[in-house]
Structure formats: C-alpha cells, structure tokens
C-alpha cells in the first residue's frame, strides 16, 4: 500500500519533471559495435566502412570493416550505421554553460564573482547539470565542455565536464584544469557620452596592470616555496608552477599576446593556452615557436576592423594552423555555443580540410585542455563517446544525430525544445486531420 502511495506521489512529481533535462543513461551493459559507417577519427584520419567497438564505456575496436573478423566482434551487439558519419564527441572550451541559465535574469547568473583576483574561485561547484541549455548542446554533438568563469583580471578556475551526468561530481572529467587570466588591454574602450561613440584608445593603466600580475606571480612563487601559509588565492596557483594547472590567458591584441606569454614564461608557468586572441595571426610565428596553442573566439563573428578582410574570422583557424599553431574553437555565449560544429564547418569552407576542421573541436581541443588521454578522438582505450550523424555533422543541413553514446551509454537527446516541438507538432497535425 505504502508502495502504491509512493508511486502516486512519484507520478505527481513526474509532471514537473517533464520540464527537466533527460536523465543520464544507464551504464553500458554489453559491448556494442557500430558497423559500416564513415568514421571521422578526430586526428585527421577517416575510416570508410568502419567498425567502432566499445565495451564498458571504452573504445575497443577502431578499424576498417575489412580488417575486423567475426571473432573480434563476438559478444558485440552490432548496429548497422552504413551511410552514417561517426565522430568523437565534440568538445566546447571556455563556456559558461551550466553557470548561466538566462543572462538577463541576474538570479540565474553564476559565472562572475566579484573581486579582481580569484584564482581560488572554482566553477565546478556551481555547474548545474540540470541546465536546460545542456540538452541543446548534446543535440548537436557537443559532449564535453570546459566550464569557465568570467570577470575581472583572474575570474577563477575552470573544470572540464561531460554533458551527461546527475550532478557535478558525476560530470567531472578534469577538476580545476586551468586558471583564467584576462590580460590587461593596451588599448581600452572609452565611451564618449557627447557623441555616443566608443573609441579604442591607449590605456593609461596598462603598465600598472601588468605589474600587478607580475607581483601576483612573484608572491605566488614565494608562497609556494615557503610551503606553508593560509592564503587561498596563492594556494590555488600552486599547480601553475608544476604544470598540473594550465594558465589560460585571454588576450586579443598582438602585443598583449606576446607580452602575456613572455611574462608568464618568465615566472615559470608551465602550460599556457591563449584564448580568444583576435590578433593572434600577426604573431603566429611567435606562438608557434613558443608552442602556445590558441582557443579561437567565435568563428562566426565580424572582422574586428572595417579594413580587415571580410572573411578574416572564418579564415583564422586555417591561417593559424598553417603557421603551425594548434587551434581549438569556442563560442562564449550559451545561446550560440551549440553551433560549435558549424564553426568548424565554416573553418573548413575557408581553408581547412574537413578533417582538420573537425580536429579543432575534438582532438586539438582535448590536447589543449590536457584530456586527450581520455577524449577527443576515436582511438582504442579512450572514452566511447561517439556521435552517429545521418550526414556531415559540420553542416547544419546534415548534422542530425541518430545515436549518441557517452562513455558507451546511449544518451537521450530530447530536451525541453524537442518536447515542445512534439507537443505543438501534434497539435497542428491534429488540426490538419
């Protein structure tokens, strides 16, 4: 009887639950092999008529069908995916996904802590696995994200999560992967209230701002050498010096980029990643020489200046890669981040091969984020996070996910948007009958 009452209560809760994100899929029970598709490995290679097998969430077979015998496939549930395109799950760096629900509603905004220097502020604990935005990402093939705070000089520390989880602990791929640093601007914006124009003018505080960063680095180094203390901020920076935490520097202008790298290197920061980097192309050889990878700001953006080539942002990934710079793509706002694969598509239209473009949202991103041992490509031993698209996933016209596996678990792609679609589709269909 009690059980029945509980069931009724549960049933009552199901209604509001409908507005919730889908539950994470149960663990993979038996081995699965996807057979006959075109597998885009993520490292530049393509295997036509491929067999992609996985067991207990890990990839076990990645091969051309002709090189796999029946014995190898015994025990595998075989799914025919011929004519389909297979990809590793896409990775979205530098996003406020799960930190911000609705930008204009302050109560739902959790990506910007007050105070200028917050290396100790951690995004992971605010990451909301129940954000309605998450299913919209998965629907287009994004399975991993670097949850990144934003704000003043040092907004905080990011973590890398998978997008099918019950809670943030569950979601973690890598905790506290990087501290983010917004490098000061040599040329700052100045609002002119007389003419309502905005001008980019030389900053009067630039040198001072850089000095403040240098002092912080100096102090952090000293603090760590000392070994004891109770300064949370400096404590949080420890990993920067032993390479366990990366420094992601957000800088746009060419000279800012160079100066930031030189300053950070001088203080022994091990892993430096450049983020956004509008003018990176002007110092591409410098970046290549110092092996600084770049996470490029929104490919679908307008050129910074009227003089710029109209397609400069589209060509940026190819131009940088030609110079030997490792490139990943991003999009900061949650509304448009789901279009990540199409940013890669545009990069492919403007200079990259499709496989190179794919790398920018898979293996390159994984390498840059330091998680390429787990994710980023369809290679044996890595997470079985696989997209099965009915066509080219970098083109919006054909990016249609038929199956998506996250660590071997076939996940539910339906979010609120799909449910609303069905609800009204049924309404209009019934009207037409």
């Amino acid at each position: 009887m009690l059980k029945h009452i509980l069931k009724i209560i549960l049933a009552l809760f199901t209604l509001p639950l409908l507005a919730q994100v889908p539950a994470p899929a149960p663990p993979q029970e038996s081995p699965i092999a996807l057979v006959g598709g075109t597998a885009h490995i993520g490292n530049g290679e393509v295997i036509e008529n491929a067999v992609i097998g996985f067991e207990e969430g890990k990839l076990t077979i990645v091969a051309s069908a002709s090189s796999v015998n029946d014995e190898q496939l015994s025990g595998y549930e075989q799914i025919d995916v011929s004519g389909k395109h297979l990809y590793p799950g896409f990775i979205l760096p530098n996003t406020n996904l799960g930190l911000v629900e609705i930008n204009a509603v302050r109560a739902t905004v959790d990506d910007e802590e007050t105070g200028g220097l917050n290396p100790n502020v951690r995004s992971i604990i605010a990451y909301n696995t129940d954000s309605e935005a998450i299913p919209t990402m998965r629907f287009n093939g994004i399975l991993y994200a670097q949850i990144t705070p934003e704000g003043d000089r040092i907004p905080g520390t990011s973590s890398i999560v998978g997008l099918d989880a019950w809670n943030w602990e569950d979601a973690v791929i890598k905790t506290d992967d990087a501290i983010h640093l917004n490098w000061p601007r040599r040329y700052a914006r100045e609002y002119d209230y007389a003419t309502f124009s905005v001008n980019r003018v030389k900053s009067k505080t630039y040198a001072e701002d850089v000095q403040a960063i240098e002092m912080l680095m100096e102090d952090a180094k000293a603090y760590i050498e000392k070994g004891v203390g109770n300064n949370l901020k400096l404590e949080a920076m420890k990993g920067l010096f032993d390479g366990s935490t990366a420094m992601h520097v957000h800088a746009d202008a060419a000279q800012e980029i160079v100066e930031s790298v030189k300053v950070l290197k001088a203080y022994g920061i091990q892993k430096i990643v450049l983020v956004e980097a509008e003018e990176a192309i002007h110092v591409a050889d410098f970046l290549s020489e110092h092996e600084i990878p770049v996470v490029i700001s929104n490919v679908h953006r307008l050129p910074d200046k009227p003089e710029d080539a109209i397609d400069l942002p589209y060509r940026m990934p190819s131009m940088l890669m030609q110079e030997g710079v490792e490139v990943a793509l991003m999009y900061r706002g949650v509304t448009n981040a789901r279009n990540l694969p199409f940013y890669a598509g545009t990069a492919a239209t403007y200079g990259l091969s499709k496989e190179e473009a794919l790398q920018c949202i898979t293996l390159n991103a994984a390498k840059i984020l330091g998680v390429d041992d787990m994710i980023g490509s369809l290679e044996v031993g890595k997470h079985a996070s696989i997209l099965v698209s009915s066509g080219d996933a970098l083109d919006m016209k054909t990016n249609i996910m038929e199956h998506v596996f996250y660590e071997g678990r076939k996940i539910n792609l339906e979010g609120m948007q799909q449910r609303l679609y069905k609800k009204y589709k049924e309404k209009y269909e019934s009207q037409q009958n």
């Binding site: 609705i102 309502f196 905005v198 030389k202 003089e307 970098l394 083109d395 679609y421 009204y424």
Partner: protein
C-alpha cells in the same frame, strides 16, 4: 536732420530692414545715401552718462598708399580709404583728406574687410547639456515652467541679444585672427532661438550689436533638456517637424484658448535667415531635407567632411559654414599599434584640408568658422592650408567676408569696404594669405585695435658690430618687428642674440662662449648708418658699442618644418570606407550561364540554366541563351538564387531607438547610414535588401526604412522607391523597460501595453475623423472653423488603421501576440508581420487565421526570460500551420549567414530545401510587399541575384557574386585586389604621417572609433564586437 538719421540708423540695426523685398532695399539705399551725406555729423551719441566733460573726437581717418581689397574680388592698388565716424565713406586713388582727417600712411600695406564668423557663441553663457545616465528615471512631460513648448529641447524663445555681454578676453583673441564681426548663438536645444550679430569691439554692448535677431538657429543636439524624448537624430527630426506643424496650427490664430510663448517666438523667427547646426555631411543632408519639407533653405554648419559626398551636397545646394579643424596625424611609429587607426580616419587626415577647395570647385557657397579648433590661433594657418590644397585666394577671402555677409543679407554693412559699410577692416603687412603675413591692426566700427606695430623698424641687414675693442659681423634677418639678430663669431660659429627693437631703441644681449655662459648686454639707439650705445661686459665694465650698416640682407629661406605637401595620394571612395568604390557603378547586361537556378517559382530548382540580366532586371531565363553585349558569367557547378532579404535589421542606421511610448512619428528613413561597412559584409553573404527597423524600446516604434544594399550610393538612393510604409511595434520585456529598475514609464506590464495600443488607435481614429470632417467643409466654412492640429504621431497611427502602413511587431510570448491580433481586429486591420515571434509556434494557427506572417530567429533563445521557450523548430512549426515564415537577423553578424540560418530548419523540423530557402528570400519579400519585384528569379523582377559556389543552404557555400539591380556590388574573385588596395593606401598614409611627425607636426596617439552593432533594445550605445547580447 540728425534725428532723422538716428531713426534710420535704428532701422539699420533691426531685422525689419532685412526683409528681402524691393521696398526694403530702397530704404537701405536711402540709409546709405544718408550715411554718405551726413556721416561727418555722426558723432558719438551722448546717450550714456559720463563722469567727465564730453570728449567726442573727430574720428576721421584717411588711409593712404595702401593696397585695398574693397571686396574679395576688387583690389585697388596705391589707394586711399576714408573712414568717418565708424563708416567707410570713400575709397579711391585720388582722395583728398577732408578737414580734420588724420592721415595714415600705409605704403606697402594691405587693407582687407575684416572677417566674419557665423558660428560663434561669443559673449554668451556656456550651454550645458543634460547629463547622461543609462538607468535614469524617464521624464515624460516638460520640466520648464511657464507657457512654453511641450518639448524642452525647443527653445525658440531664446534671444541671444538679451544675454550677450562682450568679453574682451575672447574678443582680443578673435581680433588677432582678423575677425571683426561674429554671429553668436546660444548652443542649447534643437531650436536655439535667435542669434545676434555683434562686432568684436570694446565698448557699450549696445553699440557692438549690429543685429539683435540675426538668424533663427536650429540644431541636431538636444542640449540641456532633461525630457527623455527625443534621444536620437530621427527623434530630433521628428520633433522639429512637429514644431513646424504646431507653429502653422498656432499661427492660424483660431486657438485663443492656448498660449505658447515658444511657438510665438518660432513664428516670428521664421522671417529671419535660417541656420542649422549639423556638423557632418550626413547631417547636412538631413537638415536640408527638413528644410525642403517646409520650404526653408538653411545655412548649415557642416563638419568639414563634405568632400566625401560633394555631389549630394551640391545637389542640395546648401550654403555652408565649415570648420578648418583638420585632424592631426596619428603617431603610427609602431606598426602593431597602428592597427588602432582606421583607414577612413587616415584618409580624412589627408583630405580634410582640401574640403574648402572641393566645395569651391563645386560652386557651393560657404564661409569659414574658427569653431572647433583646438587652438584658435591656428585659424589663419589652416585657411592658408586650404589654399595650398587648391582653394583660390579670392574664394578664401570670399568665404571670410562676402559669403557670411550675404548669408545674413548684411552685405551692404559688413564683409566689404564699400561706401556706407561699417568700418571693420584689417591692415596687414601684405597678402594676408602668405605664410608670414602680419595683421597689424584690426579696426572695428572705426576704432583701431593695434595687434602689432605697423611702423616697426625693419633693422634687417649686414652690420659690423664693434663692442669695446672687439669686432664681429652682425646679421639681422626677418621682417619688421620680428627681426632676428646673429653674431658671426668665426667661420663656423654663429651666436643668436636676444634683441628687442622698440621704436628708436634697441636692446641686445648675447653669450659668446656657451661654455662660460657669460652674457654681454647692450642698450642703444638707431643712427643714420646703424646703431650705437652703451653696454656692460660680463665683468661689469661699461663700454661703448656700435653697429655700422654694411649692406641689405639677402633673403634666405627660413629654416623650420617643411609642411607636408598638398598632394593627395589616396582616393575618395563611396562610401568613405575600405572596399568603397571610386566611381559609382552602373548597370550592365550579364548572362549567367549553366547554373543551378533556385527560381522560387513553380519551376523550382532547375539545373544547367542561363539567366540574362538587362537594365537591372531579369530579362530571360532558359537554356543555351545568347545575348549580344552581355558579359558572360560561367555558372557551371554553381547555384544562382535571388538575393537574400532580411526582414529585420538595424545596420546602415545612425541610431535605433527613440523613447516616446508611441514613437510613430520617428522615421528610420531619416537616418539611413550609407557609410556602414556591414552593408558590404552582408553583400558578401548574399543579402541584397532589408527592412531597417526602429528598436523595441517602445510599444510603437518608428517607421521603417526599406533599403537595398546599393553599396556606395548615398543614403537617399539606398531606399526602395515606391515601397509600402512599415512601422515597428514591440511587446514584452523591452517595452516594459524591464532592465531598468528605475523606469517609471507607462507601460510597466503587458497589461499596460495593450492599453497603449488601444489608446493610440482610439485617438488616431478620432484624429482621422476630425480631419475628414474638416476637409469635407467648404472653403468658407473652413475659414471660420479651427483647423485640427496636425499630429505626426496620430497621423501615422491612422495610416495603420487605414491599411496604408503595416506593422512589423517585435514579439516573443504567446499571450501578447494573441493580444495584438485582437487589438488590430478591433480596428479592422491586420498585423502584417510578427518579428522574432519566438513563441509563434504556440499560436501559429491563430496567426495563420489572422493573416499575420512570422519572421523569426532560427535558434536564438534563453538570453532573457521571455525567450526561455524559444525553440529552433519555431520556423518549421509556423510554416506547418500555414504562416508565411521568414528567418531574420537583427544582428549584423548573423545577417551575412542567413542562408545557413535558413538551413537550420532542415535540421530542426525537417523542412524541405526549397521551403527553407524561401524563408530568406521570397517569404520576407512577401512580408515587405516586395514580392512583385523581388524574392524569386522570374522574368521582369529586379536582378537582385547571388551566385553561390555550392548549394546555398550548405555551410560550405560562399556567395561569389552579389548583384543588386543588375549591378555587381560584391565579387569574391576581386576581394584580394581590394584588400591589397586597402593595404596600399594604409602604407602610403602611414609613410605620410611619419613624415609629418618628423617634420614637426603634432600627432595624436592611435585610436579608432569602434563599430557599434545595434540590437532592438539599445538606446544610446550599440553593442561592440565580442559582446554578448
């Protein structure tokens, strides 16, 4: 007789005299005759009390042996000029001095009429502008107390003459520049009342004022008014128009129950010359447009950038007042920092000094103003620079004298040295436009103001200096009053001496040996063959010294910074931006061969098809077409479509929102901005036409501008002629001013929004009826019936009811969408389009039944609460329910990828490719009532075509060529060449700026004005690249 004369002199100084009628001119002539006849009797009036016995002097001067510019084009040499009691009474080569005249010998010197500045605020309090705040409380009603106009920015009742007090400190500076007369305006408000014409003399203000009401002044800056409306240029224009109409209505004199001091003043001021402050070529044209609507020709204070659109300025035939505040070069030493300088700014630096020459060449009347100069003393230098850049000296002098006098109908009084004119003139060392010319004296109303000693001794020459026992050659160079002294110590060393020549006296000191820094000091006087005197050696011993004159100075070129040459090495482009066109393009015949043609007609997508374009239209569609004289374009493997049409954009606009709850009187057509790089960027995405909408800050926004992206054309020429009228409505959060917690403006809720519409339409209906009734009256009845007041807002609302204007309504949430359809139905019209309409899918069946179209985003959502339930299936669902559906941008970036946005409906909702494509072409054309000429590839329609490298819905497609009216405005195959041109021009200008810097010209740090991208809810500033919505 004297009394009689006083009366006439009084007449002279009133605006009454300047009625441009023959009778008035006659009176003027009479006055002049009297001036001539009785000038000598015109002693200072004893009107002021004096704490002394009277000291009235003869005040008769005869200037002799001068070169006299009677006006800018009449020069007489070796001539004399007679000035009697403040007026010029005679000039000529054989004048004899009347009794009591003081003779002034001006041998070698020039006399010019003194200069006139029509754009001054001399002697008036500084106008304050209202402080800016993002989140302030709105002020809806006027704050000004008293019976004044409904909008505080209209200050027509202000009279500068009532507030003028002369300011000797400022006057002195202006006199040094050669000015004698200025028109002074209180710079506050869109209507600034009257300006006064005053001289720059010293004395009783009563005597300095030539005209109390010289001109009526309007502007495009709001000034101190705290009233929230208007905030935009289109709002300013709407307010000015409404004021004109209100004045017309008020002047009918049948409205005795209502008094408005401002309107009364406005009406009176209409008989004056009309001036407008609009400092940029775009605003010059806007001002002129208002003038044309009301039969007024303004004199416009321009921006100095008129050369950028000289043809349009010429066509407008606007007399101008132009500044000479040429921009400084940038410091471009660091090539990376130089990215922060725009090509347009660099070109403007190069070309601005040529503005005056270009205006003169085009035959446009203009005068100069010293206003806007960082350092006013640069005025003459910069006028001279204009001459170096091609302005003739005659035209320069005209712009300083005759033109400004003419523009005030004061040419008989000022601006020339004709008989009877006010004795305002300058005495110079020679040709005033020569680099080192000196203004010695500036005479104002017959009184001298000495700037430099015109009789200064010219001591130049080679001398032998003897001090005690030592002898040195002494070189004295330079002009009278500015001689430079140098001692030749030995063959390689010359030492500069500090020297002051004061009349007959000379004081000189020098240091022979820099090391010991010991100074010799001499004091002396001029003699017949040099100088002599007493001096003190560094050791204190007294000595005698002399300098005997040997020979005249041989003129050597002065050292110093060589000015940058007047050469212009880059070209004016249309627009004045990178990728602009040097010549406006013309239409050609094109034959596009063998393409996959997306017709959007019954034929659907047809392969291997040819399309012929002639005279801007689609002339023929078929296979194996041939056409003589047509340029062939190979379309093999490519896709040809009609141009993308964006139902919702805010690019190509100078402003987006005004803030009146119902802003229906505001017209986006007024603020079309041809100089927006985004026009070109969107052409590169295949976009050919768009609706430029007002923002969504109010339930009823302004009237739309429908434009084609005719890159390079002037704003007016971008408008789609004959298009139906549209207007922006808006619902939801922006209208409620949800983001401003201090907002008090009605409405604050969706409930209130409905009532705003009901109120607006109810009033509009009554308004329409009132006019219909009035218009139905006979002329005799009309004569005794008060004419209804013309209200631009209600008139526009009535147009909507009468189906003469169509709504595009910014909307998100289903409840309010439903509401607006009900409101419309109550007034018996339809909502034409719901734009954004993110919850359209929830009420699509109702929309279809009502007949409203839906123009939406493909996949935007969750950036604010009311878009929480926006879904990317919206377009597919609306289409399914029978709603004509489009995908719009509202965003400069997304607009150039509308083809991709349309493709998302294939992914979200499984739409067919043809259907998806129509969402960015034919369907928006239908919404804008343009589908009879755009939106599909059909014989007879406009040749707005795009040739794509691939299926246009694919991410891999690029627009290769984009054509509007048969003109290719974008061609990707020429992009590299165009980019190279941009780089080449930058390189040239960077070299020139460097040279200017090395030559000693002042430079400024790099900076650039950033592009602002307007979204619906932006008020003052747009968004910057990289910012989120």
């Amino acid at each position: 007789m004297e009394d009689f004369f006083i009366i006439f002199k009084y007449l002279l100084i009133t605006d009454f005299i300047r009625q441009p009628t023959i009778i008035m001119k006659r009176i003027l002539q009479l006055v002049l005759i009297f001036n001539l006849m009785y000038g000598g009797l015109m002693a200072q009036e004893d009107i002021y009390p004096a704490n002394d016995v009277r000291d009235n002097r003869p005040n008769i001067y005869l200037f002799e042996n001068a070169t006299i510019f009677i006006d800018h084009q009449t020069k007489i040499e070796n001539a004399s000029m007679l000035v009697e009691d403040g007026f010029i009474t005679a000039r000529g080569t054989d004048l004899s001095a009347p009794a009591g005249a003081i003779k002034v010998d001006l041998k070698g010197k020039f006399i010019y009429p003194s200069f006139i500045d029509l754009y001054s605020s001399y002697g008036l309090p500084e106008a304050k502008s209202s402080s800016f705040s993002y989140s302030s409380k709105e002020i809806i009603t006027p704050e000004r107390e008293g019976a004044f106009y409904v909008n505080d920015a209209i200050k027509a009742d202000y009279n500068a003459s009532e507030h003028f007090t002369s300011d000797e400190e400022v006057a002195e500076k202006l006199r040094k520049l050669g000015f004698g007369t200025v028109m002074t305006t209180y710079r506050d408000g869109l209507a600034r009342g009257t300006s006064a014409l005053v001289t720059l003399g010293k004395g009783w203000d009563n005597e300095l004022m030539l005209l109390t009401k010289a001109a009526n002044q309007l502007s495009f800056s709001k000034g101190s008014s705290k009233q929230t409306y208007p905030i935009s240029i289109m709002g300013f224009m709407a307010v000015l128009r409404q004021t004109y109409y209100d004045a017309q209505w008020y002047a009918t004199a049948k409205n005795e129950s209502f008094t408005d001091n401002t309107l009364e003043a406005w009406i009176q001021n209409q008989s004056l010359p009309q001036f407008f402050d609009a400092p940029s070529w775009k605003n010059v044209l806007r001002a002129d447009k208002i003038g044309d609507e009301f039969g007024v020709q303004y004199v416009v204070r321009g921006g100095g950038d008129e050369y950028q659109r000289i043809e349009e300025i010429k066509a407008a035939n606007v007399p101008l007042i132009i500044p000479v505040n040429y921009p400084e070069a940038f410091d471009v030493e660091d090539p990376l920092d130089a990215f922060n300088v725009s090509l347009a700014d660099m070109k403007h630096w190069e070309m601005a000094p040529a503005n005056a020459a270009k205006l003169a060449q085009a035959g446009i009347a203009f005068s100069f103003t010293a206003d806007g100069l960082k350092d006013q003393s640069d005025f003459l230098k910069n006028v001279r620079k204009a001459i170096k850049y091609g302005l003739s000296e005659t035209d320069a002098l005209k712009a300083l004298t005759a033109t400004p006098a003419n523009l005030l109908n004061m040419d008989t009084q000022i601006g020339s040295l004709r008989n009877g004119a006010v004795a305002n003139f300058i005495i110079t060392s020679g040709n005033i436009f020569e680099e080192d010319a000196i203004i010695y004296e500036n005479w104002i109303q017959g009184k001298p103001y000495i700037l430099e000693d015109k009789n200064a001794r010219d001591a130049s020459g080679y001398y032998t200096l003897k001090v005690d026992e030592d002898t040195y050659p002494l070189e004295v160079s330079g002009k009278a009053g500015k001689n430079k002294f140098k001692l030749v110590v030995n063959d390689t060393t010359k030492v500069e001496a500090d020297a002051i020549v004061e009349g007959e006296l000379i004081n000189m000191s020098y240091v022979l040996d820099k090391e010991d820094n010991m100074r010799t000091r001499l004091s002396g006087w001029f003699t017949e063959n040099g100088m002599e005197g007493k001096g003190q050696l560094p050791n204190g011993s007294w000595v005698a010294w002399s300098a005997s004159y040997d020979s005249a100075m041989v003129a050597t070129k002065e050292e110093g910074a060589e000015e940058e040459g007047p050469e212009i090495n880059t070209s004016i482009t249309y627009p004045f931006l990178p990728f602009g066109l040097e010549e406006k393009p013309t239409t050609q015949a094109y034959l596009i061969k063998n393409a996959t043609v997306w017709t959007n007609e019954e034929e659907g997508i047809v392969e291997e098809t040819d399309v012929l374009v002639r005279d801007g239209k689609i002339a023929q569609i078929g296979q194996n077409l041939t056409a003589s004289g047509a340029t062939e374009i190979d379309g093999t493997g490519k896709h040809l479509t009609s141009g993308v049409i964006d139902e919702h954009t805010h690019i190509a606009l100078d402003g987006v929102n005004d803030v009146a709850t119902i802003s229906a009187m505001v017209r986006m057509e007024d603020v079309v901005d041809s100089e927006d790089i985004n026009i070109y960027r969107q052409l590169s995405g295949g976009v050919t036409a768009a609706q430029c909408l007002h923002g969504s800050a109010n339930p009823v926004g302004g009237q739309s501008a429908l434009i084609k992206f005719r890159w390079g054309n002037a704003p007016e020429d971008m408008l789609i002629k004959g298009a139906d009228g549209f207007i922006k409505f808006a619902l939801g959060e922006n209208v409620k001013r949800s983001r401003n917690s201090r907002s008090i403006r009605y409405p604050q809720t969706r409930m209130g929004v409905e009532q705003v519409f009901m109120d607006g339409f109810t009033r509009a209906k009554a308004y329409d009826e009132a006019w219909a009734n009035y218009n139905a009256l006979t002329a005799r009845e009309q004569a005794i019936t008060p004419m209804p007041r013309k209200d631009l807002m209600l008139e526009t609302m009535a147009e909507i009811i009468n189906k003469e204007r169509f709504i595009s309504c910014h909307s998100y949430v289903q409840s309010e969408i439903n509401m607006l359809m009900h409101v419309a139905e109550k007034f018996d019209f339809n909502v034409n389009t719901f734009t954004h309409i993110l919850e359209g899918y929830k009420v699509a069946d109702k929309m279809a039944a009502h007949g409203a179209a839906g123009s939406t985003f493909s996949d935007w959502w969750n950036y604010k609460f009311e878009v929480r339930y926006a879904i990317p299936y919206n377009a597919a669902l609306m289409t399914m329910a029978g709603v004509t559906t489009a995908i719009n941008s509202d965003d400069a970036e997304m607009a150039r990828r509308l083809n991709q946005e349309a493709a998302k409906s294939i992914k979200y909702g499984g739409m067919s490719e043809e259907e998806a494509w129509k969402m960015v072409t034919l369907n928006p054309a239908k919404m804008l009532h343009l589908d009879d000429r755009m939106g599909s590839i059909k014989v007879g329609k406009d040749a707005d075509l795009v040739l794509w490298t691939d299926n246009p819905l694919s991410i891999y497609a690029k627009a290769e060529k984009t054509m509007v009216d048969g003109i290719i405005y974008f061609d990707r195959t020429q992009e590299e060449e165009k980019r190279a041109k941009v780089e080449e021009e930058r390189a040239i200008l960077i070299q020139k700026m460097q040279a200017a810097k090395k030559g000693g010209s002042p430079v400024r740090m790099p900076s650039r004005s950033l592009e602002q991208f307007w979204h619906c809810n932006d008020l003052f500033f747009g968004h910057l690249a990289g910012e989120e919505k």
